[in-house]
């Protein structure tokens, strides 16, 4: 394996042809994954830039850096970009796109052209939303609550809503592609019970994308109708019902949380097993937990509305169901931890991120239980407690998993190794920076500071300063990988086909893979995570 000191580069998906057209018209899932990677990375930095401005504003109690209108636009655009244009496509559209065909032993996704179409739709949606922001921005919050968004806001609500509306279709198409691919394109012998858990997790997320996304599309369309033509749907002055909007909005937007986190959980399965050299503990339970989350996730939306004026009995039911959806997540955390038991553990960067993920996701998940508790939710609802909670899940959980996955499969995607020492440093910075940023916000939230406040009473300042300080550490933690990943494209060590000595079909083809993924269709005769029969060779890649 290590003899491959190539003088003549073998043909792979990156060098098979060149030129801008070969990228923009490609139907190769791997190239489309890279198109997505570049696009969502750009969106991540735009959204991150807004986050930094928000944190800087909150350094002092007075609203003195930007005006309140600007501040409102900043957190709105931060939310819209991060949720709809980064988190939702993050793992599925990049890693999922790249890996699912490889993992199931297929040449491509089921509908390669539809896959390319989904990227174009994403770009049209993203550019529409960005145009709305450049033209002056939106100030409704990413939640678009009515009647503020339909009648009172005089910012570019339409542009942003249309951008999200359009992007929804790319999400639906990606989901559809994954479902069909996983059902129909598995290599001989790749039974459902041998399917990598990454595929199970993306499959569960794909179900939500296909079933949930149309609802947000319809909801935003209704907002646009009321805004443009004064048709009374949500505004009580026109005969509408503002709570109807919240029901419709959260019917999608709560399951959307699981679109974001499930693929991340899938990444963690692959990494934990590889670096502890063990099969995953309780494969069936982890797989079924993904499906359980996808199903139960559709039945908990009104826990966003406990103080909105819904009936007491509705609140009771939604509280109960919200506890139930916490259980499969807990099952996953316990199974990951048990997977480490009697393993043979190596601390490469992806594993460090995975450890971080489990810890932060645990905190995020448990604080979710606080919010499911009616009595406590009434107090902490719409405060910084909620902000801290969902950042623990979305950034501490999801972005950690995304970073873990990027490092893990970077050699496969690019054919280059990243610099391990720098990567470990960045993982540490992200973990420390993240906790410093968001843990204080739990305290601020329980003390009662509402979210989306441009200015705040002075007693909250110390903790806010701490949070802003943490955010600057976090920023460094994210800038570093950006630099060394780019650096590694040219200067990184060439990657062997299987640098981590992992199992899984994607590691049985060269790095980077050839255009058609496998020279011959693989035949699977082993279980997922069959580390028992993987030779214990010590291919420690020299850095």
């Amino acid at each position: 394996m290590a003899t491959a000191v190539q003088t003549v580069e073998r043909e792979n998906y990156l060098n098979s042809n060149y030129g801008i057209k070969s990228w923009l018209l490609t139907t190769d899932h791997k190239r489309i994954a890279l198109l997505y990677l570049v696009s969502i990375t750009a969106m991540f930095w735009i959204g991150g830039f807004f986050a930094m401005l928000i944190r800087l504003e909150l350094l002092t109690p007075a609203g003195d850096m930007v005006s309140s209108d600007t501040y409102n636009k900043l957190f709105t655009m931060h939310g819209i970009i991060m949720v709809f244009f980064f988190l939702i496509p993050s793992v599925p559209a990049t890693l999922g796109n790249f890996l699912i065909p490889l993992m199931v032993g297929a040449k491509d996704l089921a509908f390669p052209r539809v896959n390319l179409l989904s990227w174009y739709i994403y770009m049209v949606g993203a550019i529409t939303a960005l145009t709305a922001m450049v033209m002056g921005g939106v100030d409704t919050g990413w939640t678009f609550y009515t009647p503020f968004s339909t009648t009172y806001s005089n910012t570019h609500v339409m542009g942003a809503a249309i951008g999200i509306f359009i992007t929804g279709f790319s999400s639906i198409l990606t989901g559809l592609n994954f479902i069909v691919t996983i059902h129909r394109m598995r290599a001989p012998g790749m039974t459902w019970r041998r399917l990598p858990l990454f595929c199970w997790a993306n499959y569960a997320a794909a179900i939500i994308m296909v079933l949930g996304t149309p609802v947000i599309a319809i909801t935003l369309l209704l907002v646009a109708l009321e805004r443009a033509f004064n048709i009374g749907i949500f505004n009580p002055q026109l005969g509408g019902d503002p709570l109807l909007f919240q029901h419709l909005f959260w019917f999608y937007s709560h399951p959307a949380v699981y679109i974001m986190i499930l693929p991340g959980m899938g990444v963690i399965n692959e990494i934990i097993t590889c670096f502890s050299r063990k099969r995953v503990f309780g494969y069936e339970f982890v797989a079924l937990a993904s499906i359980a989350i996808a199903v139960l996730g559709f039945l908990v939306w009104a826990h966003h509305m406990f103080v909105a004026g819904i009936s007491v009995y509705a609140a009771l039911v939604f509280s109960l169901l919200s506890y139930l959806v916490a259980i499969p997540s807990a099952v996953k955390v316990f199974n990951w931890t048990a997977t480490l038991y009697k393993g043979s553990i190596r601390y490469e960067t992806p594993m460090l991120y995975a450890f971080g993920f489990i810890g932060l996701f645990t905190v995020g998940g448990l604080t979710g239980v606080f919010l499911a508790s009616l009595g406590v939710d009434v107090h902490v609802h719409d405060t910084y407690f909620v902000v801290a909670h969902f950042h623990y899940v979305m950034v501490g959980g999801m972005v950690m998993a995304y970073m873990a996955g990027l490092h893990f499969w970077w050699p496969k995607i690019t054919g280059r190794m990243y610099p391990e020492a720098w990567a470990k440093l960045s993982a540490l910075l992200v973990f420390v920076g993240f906790n410093t940023t968001f843990f204080p916000l739990f305290i601020v939230g329980y003390m009662g500071l509402p979210r989306r406040y441009h200015a705040y009473p002075p007693e909250f300042q110390v903790l806010n300063v701490l949070s802003t300080a943490g955010a600057s550490i976090l920023a460094v933690g994210y800038v570093l990988p950006m630099i060394y990943f780019l650096w590694s494209l040219r200067y990184g060590e060439p990657a062997p086909p299987n640098p981590w000595n992992a199992v899984g079909l994607e590691w049985m083809t060269p790095s980077p893979p050839p255009t058609h993924n496998f020279d011959e269709t693989p035949i699977v005769t082993w279980e997922a995570y069959d580390y028992e029969h993987q030779p214990q060779e010590e291919v420690t890649v020299g850095h």
């Binding site: 309140s68 100030d139 609550y145 009647p147 503020f148 009648t151 505004n235 009580p236 005969g239 019902d241 503002p242 502890s276 063990k278 099969r279 503990f281 309780g282 494969y283 339970f285 103080v307 004026g309 819904i310 007491v312 509280s319 506890y323 139930l324 916490a326 259980i327 807990a330 099952v331 316990f334 931890t337 048990a338 480490l340 393993g343 043979s344 553990i345 601390y347 489990i358 810890g359 645990t362 905190v363 606080f370 499911a372 508790s373 009595g375 406590v376 009434v378 107090h379 609802h381 719409d382 405060t383 329980y446 009662g448 509402p450 989306r452 406040y453 441009h454 007693e459 110390v462 903790l463």
Partner: protein, 328 residues
Amino acid sequence: MWKNLPLFPERASALAWQVDGLYFLLVGVSAFFTLLIFALIFVFAVKYRRSAHPHPVQIEGSLPLELAWTLIPLGICMIFFAWGSLIYFQEARPPKGAMEVYVVGKQWMWKFEHETGQREINQLHIPVDRDVKMVMSSQDVIHDFFVPAFRVKADVLPGRFTEIWFHTTKPGTYHLFCSQYCGTDHSGMIGQVIVMEPVAFQAWLSGGGSTGSLASNGQQLFQQLGCATCHRFDTQGRGPNLAGVFGKPVLLDDGRTVVADENYLRESILNPGAKIVSGFKPIMPSFQGQVSEESLMALVAYIKSLAQPQQNEPGSNRPPAPETSSVQ
């Protein structure tokens, strides 16, 4: 607690202790599980590191363990569920005889009106050791009435009344926040709740600012708007006699019965055709756009004051929203 770095909100309502109690339990259980997971990861990661433990032991899984870590968290969650729901039920059921304050939220201020007619903006004076109920609605977008020291909040909606109540326990000045994002000056939509000793509160009440009680203002409006022509206090009116109607069940002409609570009165003024009282014709014009939120509250207060001796049916619950805006 440190003066410059408070880490915990004050407790100034009877409910605050219960909310904090559940919160502490949640913190305790969460801390236990978080530390457990952290400790296990740390111990496993060190003990089974590659150099010390080169040969992993493959384990398929364990059904008893899976059941244990499904059922134990589920059981613990059910305790949280029961306790949290009990608190929520109390919050949703204002006690009878609570002092009432009418609240109008608008971009970006809070307007209060006491039953005795005192009006305040962004400041709310209330006595200590009393049940206080807020009857709230919004003039424009959704707002949210939040007093951290009381551990309660409720959205304030346009087009309907919502309620919130608390029992004050400690004199002092507390933050009032709008916690539902409502536009440009959302963070400026804040105020103070001033809880006073009963004597001081009485002195404050008699200190002026009142232009007649809320109900008497409502009575004037009732005359001015011509309500009294049809809603006569005998059996001859073209509309129902409103004396004693509040809090009582009302039979509708489609056979349903509804309780005449604040939201029913509001709807009957703004959208009279929605629920017609049995035996009457749908002839009342809508007052949508003709009465402000404050006038509406005065009218409601007036009709409530007609409810004679205070022996109501158990009518005044939290509004059974979401109102299925039932147009027949």
